[in-house]
């Protein structure tokens, strides 16, 4: 198996041509993705052309960058100039953005090879990738199960060994939950640390782009390439980021870890057991593990499912059949807007738009939306209190292992419960990472979550790597990239 770190080392040193790496990745996608459907678009010609450029740079004695020749898959809500970007929606089917997202530009600058665009729940709304207008992605560990979501295509692409790296977006857990269900590493950075320019907006105060990888070190490598200020994103943090990868292997000795009951207790017993195993492993590795309770987290789910739909109802107002994507003609402009949106949006998107519109409407704004924003303050203060006594929090990523395709699509509340452990970090804008740690009773991967305060990525990666180092041999090691 080749990590991104080893691919990059091999390509930079000339031991392995980037073209051979790209050909291997494309062959793997060609052989396996018919069944999985992790990709909506495969960029075969472009990937080979980028790989040739990397090889030419190496041949000329120059450094192509830290991701030299490393394939990366992109969630289909990241804008790629001239390449279809659908967000898993009929309303944007076939739309080709006139610009690249800042992360895409950064990947190219680092020598990465963009392999294609991955499947997702429509506009990133969902926890199973079944809300894609183009059909679901299957979990590579068990094809009858969902890969999680909304970044299910990116998680599956990494888990299937199609690519060592992928990018997703995480609004309420959409990177970490599919990472847990597919048995890979997935990380949401501090809000504002990675530019959102060119990420199609869902809930702007919660959305963050982040990496999928097979190892914590690879996730740190990709994070380091993308972190930094971007004048094109007004919420981008101005401070210069410290590189995190150099410290990834420093271990967890002396780190104060809070095993957070409120992120564990309501999970399935096999998930609870793995989180406790991980806590024990950290203690053996020298971390100071203590149990901690943050009862305010229990209100996060309700607050999130008012705030995110409210922001979505505003952000998705732009899909009106005028400037991009689908138009369904019908009489005057207002009738055309309605016909277009009715035909172009799927059920979950309609549900959230209506929920958000309701929460923002006169008479309900204070009781629902403003109240949810106060809960957000409550959760942020609760985090601050917790981080006064510990450096990181440890919990589950998802309440269960991967569930059956079709089992929750008709029960939105049951689907929303998937996000209960991941939402607090989005509300507070904090970084968090899911690391595979053994399996559940069904043999499917379990993810353990490490949460850190704002800009605490370096410590978070260190602890996550210590968790990874002590994980039972799991499916990730069998991925065979």
């Amino acid at each position: 198996m080749s990590s991104a770190v080893s691919v990059s080392d091999d390509v930079r040193s000339g031991r392995r041509p980037a073209r051979a790496v790209a050909e291997q990745a494309l062959a793997a996608v060609g052989a396996g993705d018919g069944e999985l459907r992790a990709f909506l678009t495969v960029l075969a010609d472009e990937a080979l052309r980028q790989a040739d450029e990397v090889d030419a740079t190496v041949a000329a004695g120059r450094d192509p960058g830290p991701l030299a020749g490393v394939p990366v898959a992109l969630k289909d809500n990241l804008c790629t100039r001239g390449v279809a970007t659908s967000c898993g929606s009929r309303i944007l089917e076939g739309w080709r953005p006139p610009y690249d997202a800042t992360v895409v530009t950064a990947l190219r600058g680092a020598g990465a090879v963009t392999l294609g665009k991955t499947n997702m729940d429509e506009f990133a709304m969902g926890s199973s990738t079944e809300n894609s207008a183009f059909g679901p992605t299957r979990n590579p560990r068990d094809r009858g199960k969902v890969p999680g979501g909304s970044s299910g295509g990116s998680a599956a692409a990494v888990a299937a060994g199609f690519t060592p790296l992928a990018l997703g977006s995480d609004t309420g857990g959409s990177i970490r939950q599919p990472a847990a269900l597919c048995g890979v590493v997935g990380m949401k950075p501090t809000y504002g640390r990675i530019s959102r320019y060119g990420l199609v907006a869902f809930a702007s105060s919660l959305d963050q782009i982040g990496p999928f990888a097979t190892t914590v070190e690879d996730a740190a490598l990709l994070f380091d390439v993308l972190a930094g200020h971007d004048p094109l994103d007004s919420t981008s943090l101005p401070s210069e980021p410290e590189p995190t990868r150099p410290g990834v292997h420093e271990g967890a000795e002396g780190v104060r870890v809070g095993l957070c009951r409120d992120l564990v207790d309501d999970c399935a017993p096999d998930v609870v057991a793995r989180v406790h195993d991980a806590a024990e492993a950290l203690a053996k590795a020298g971390a100071k593990v203590q149990e901690i309770s943050v009862p305010e987290f229990r209100y996060g789910l309700s607050a999130y499912y008012l705030i995110a739909p409210a922001e979505a109802s505003s952000n998705l107002a732009r899909y009106d059949g005028v400037r991009y994507g689908l138009r369904v003609e019908a009489g005057d402009s207002a009738a055309m807007n309605t016909a277009t949106r009715t035909a172009g949006f799927g059920s979950e998107v309609k549900r959230r738009i209506m929920l958000g519109t309701y929460a923002l409407s006169a008479g309900y704004y204070d009781a629902y939306y403003a109240q949810a924003q106060r809960v957000r303050t409550l959760v942020m203060q609760a985090f601050d209190r917790a981080y006064a006594s510990v450096d990181v929090l440890l919990g589950a990523t998802a309440p269960t292992t991967a569930f059956d395709l079709g089992s929750k699509v008709d029960d939105p509340m049951a689907m929303y419960m998937n996000d209960v452990c991941t939402i607090p970090s989005n509300l507070a804008g904090h970084p968090a990472i899911s690391v595979p740690f053994g399996t559940g009773d069904d043999g499917l991967p379990v993810g353990v979550q490490v949460l850190a305060p704002a800009l605490g990525e370096a410590t978070m990666f260190r602890v996550a790597q210590a968790v990874e180092a002590h994980a039972p041999v799991g499916p990730t090691e069998e991925a065979g990239w």
Binding site: S205, R327, S333, M354, T357, Y358, Y364, A367, Q371, T377
Partner: protein, 109 residues
């Protein structure tokens, strides 16, 4: 939807009429079957949110963002914008380098 609506816990549950009204605001056309289904589903979500609506948080300020947002300014210098033709190429209908839309106001009587 009265402006002096009671607390969320004591208010009437979401009705079919609420869903029809909200769908119209959001420019969505729902079938009768969809109105039924969405009413039941949204009611479940709002019932769950009753835990939050019932909290007394009057002592806390609402947070719209996880970070303090400050106005961001850049030097007022000319720079290239997106390519016009490339932008218009993504539009469903274009005329004379502009987005073409159907009639916006009704014809004069």
């Amino acid at each position: 939807m009265s402006p002096d609506a009671p607390d969320a816990e004591s208010r009437a549950p979401l009705s079919r009429e609420d869903v029809v009204y909200v769908a119209r605001l959001a420019r969505l056309d729902l079938s009768d079957e969809e109105v039924e289904r969405f009413t039941a589903q949204l009611r479940t979500v709002l019932d769950h949110a009753a835990d939050v609506a019932a909290l007394d948080l009057s002592h806390l300020a609402p947070s719209s963002h996880p970070i303090v947002l400050e106005n961001v300014l850049r030097p007022d210098e000319p720079r290239p914008s997106l390519d016009r033709d490339e932008v218009l190429a993504g539009a469903p209908a274009v005329e004379d380098h502009r987005f073409r839309v159907p009639r916006i106001v009704g014809e004069a009587p």
